[in-house]
Symmetry: C2
Subunit: 405 residues, 2 copies
């Protein structure tokens, strides 16, 4: 049985962390903006990076390092994405990696570097390097500060940890911290998620398990349909639980899946100025790909998202998005419901009273149930509404940031 | 030389129109919601319909009729899309077609039927049919009322007309009315555009000229990335100018292009709660398709659109959208500018002062100039910002409408 436990990346045995304020977000401000995470012992690990063709310097660097050796530490900053910063940006990412490696007595490629924040502005590297050095002297087995240090527009720090006993009676723990908020989308969006576990795994298996867990969590969420230049999921497994390597895969996968899915849903709920968490459940599709493109067309439609914000059970906008998604459909076979209540049956309005439908979409969480009735494939997308406050929040960033630096 | 003249669909010789209030938008309200347009003499014509797989009943009906015979009249209503209304919806569309044909003494297939408004609610057909009959008794050579009658959330009626003298000294006129506002997108969105001309054309040529004009106008605009179930462009040519059939194609095409492009831009500027008209000009793409997907990724990104609303020259969000568009790119070759001022050169921040960039995006109209520098293909998308007011405006529709009926 998998049980939720306290903490995040330091919940499993043998992981330590520390955070610092380097004034990256705003000169002189004392907000936490630097995080260090490290395993006491060697690890195996895996990482999944953004598929955006414009990749931040740290993404380029970390993806090379992990090909050479297992990730044993992570240095991450918020406030600046170090993206579109050219050769200087790459030098800065390398300097961060080297500073963390030196301070933690590791090889440089054992350090994964992550950045999140504004695109296109140079990093205040002269403030970051001393911060790394100083943080490394304060490493502890608590993780509340690092969960805060990676936040950008998140309103809450996000962490989740679980444990289970395997069939040999060994306790295995999986813990993680994450950040999300804006630009959350398919195929990884400005989201960072750092997962630690004391499970003993082979490198091949930890890669496979990570990809499986990412596919059923972060690749099934969308806030605004944008995809970031910096998204990264890193999993580090240090084996201190003492299980036989790769034993009890089913339970471990379940634990890893749960940790990532819980954090993925937290990202959506805490999306910028989001008021609703909506599960778009598509069933009866002719193919898996069709189920997914329908879910994404509905979940990313501005008009549909506006109607959710307005608590309006507007199935007409949903069917219009289904219509342009590009999937195989038959209009007169489409059923649409809200949390199990039929709104549209066979392409026509259902006889559920408006007041009943309205009461469902008034809730903070509801599902949109779409059955295309042309096959047997399905896909669920976790998404959110679009609020006037989201737009207002995202109006000015670049000029504002440049003026503060 | 092509000159702007007054009026819309009645500017060319031999066209008449009339509008009526049938209480479709709201029972008992006296807003114009029905339009009739008719040519005095036989015509040739062409139509382009939505590519959404969910097609409104009038779209299904009109696309069949135009295959049988040339369109000589149009009956259009606003307030109800007659979409997702099943067999009853098709009966209603047919009843509208028959009522207009009878009242105007035409064959039923000579009448194109168009509807725009809310999806999924039945048409108040008992109020519409008498409205058609009555309007037909008042046909005149003025068109201000029909331009108003097809409006939904448009704030202004949209019409445009031009004339030119061909090489034989013959005056040819092209006029049109249109409606747009929400759901404006590639491949035709809830937009209607009715074009009339007294040019004498063959059926084959009018089809070709229409497709050419649509491709460089309505297929290059996007407000919110949604695509409607009802979009229709209809062109009727009655030959009364007296030119030799299909003569002076270059000038005619230019006139038709201009009328459609002017109306397309008006649709974007008058998009729901839009404050900016932005031209996303992509050049240097490896293929035409690449140029278009980059323009659409940028023009449909919620985060990019928010930054335009905030008058923020945020090129970082633009390059991040370029990165996930799926086109062939090289990050260090990308140039981005605002109305000719460089903001990003070779993937890095340019040295244009922030104040200069900010002054450009403060204007009501500006261009985003993207050069991918990997080829020679280009595409321009006419699009708009995303405002908090847009979201607010689109929050509630379905429940509100159902309560009013």
């Amino acid at each position: 049985m998998i049980t939720k436990i306290k903490g995040g990346v330091c919940a499993p045995q043998g992981f330590q962390s520390a955070a610092a304020s380097c004034g990256i977000k705003e000169k002189g401000a004392d907000r936490l903006d630097l995080a260090l995470i490290c395993s006491d012992v060697p690890t195996v690990g895996a990482a999944v990076f953004t598929k955006n063709k414009v990749k931040a310097a740290p993404v380029q660097l970390s993806s090379k390092s992990i090909k050479k050796t297992a990730p044993r530490a992570i240095v991450a900053n918020s406030g600046n994405a170090n993206a579109c910063t050219g050769e200087v940006g790459m030098e800065h990412a390398k300097a961060m990696q080297q500073a963390a490696a030196t301070a933690l007595s590791l090889g440089k490629d054992e350090v994964q570097v992550c950045s999140t924040g504004i695109i296109g502005l140079p990093m205040p590297i002269e403030r970051i390097l001393p911060g790394i050095e100083e943080a490394a002297t304060r490493m502890k087995t608590t993780d509340a500060a690092v969960a805060k240090a990676i936040m950008t527009s998140d309103t809450k720090p996000k962490s989740h940890a679980v444990e289970y006993q395997d069939s040999a009676g060994i306790t295995v723990r999986v813990g993680a911290i994450a950040k999300g908020a804006g630009m959350i989308n398919p195929n990884m969006a400005t989201m960072l998620c750092f997962v630690t576990t004391d499970y003993a795994a082979s490198e091949a298996y930890i890669n496979e398990a990570t990809q499986t867990a990412v596919n059923q969590s972060f690749n099934c969420i969308s806030v605004d349909g944008d995809m970031s230049t910096n998204d990264t999921v890193i999993v580090m497994a240090n084996g201190l639980a003492g299980n036989r390597k790769d034993s009890g895969k089913t339970l471990f996968q379940e634990a890893l899946n749960e940790v990532m899915l819980v954090l993925a849903k937290k990202m959506v709920s805490d999306g910028e100025r989001v008021t609703k968490l909506v599960e778009v459940k598509v069933a009866g599709a002719a193919s898996q790909a069709d189920a997914e493109i329908v879910a994404r067309a509905v979940g990313n439609s501005k008009l549909v998202k506006c109607s959710w914000n307005g608590e309006d059970p507007n199935w007409g906008r949903i069917i219009h998005a289904i219509g342009y998604a590009g999937a195989k459909i038959k209009e007169d076979k489409i059923d649409i419901g809200f949390s199990g209540l039929p709104a549209c049956v066979g392409g026509l309005t259902a006889d559920t009273p408006l007041a009943k439908l309205a009461s469902v979409v008034k809730k903070k969480t509801f599902s949109v149930d779409i059955d295309l009735n042309v096959g047997s494939e399905s896909f669920t997308l976790y998404t959110a509404d679009l609020s006037p406050e989201y737009v207002d929040f995202n109006r000015e960033e670049y000029a504002l940031t440049r003026r503060k630096l």
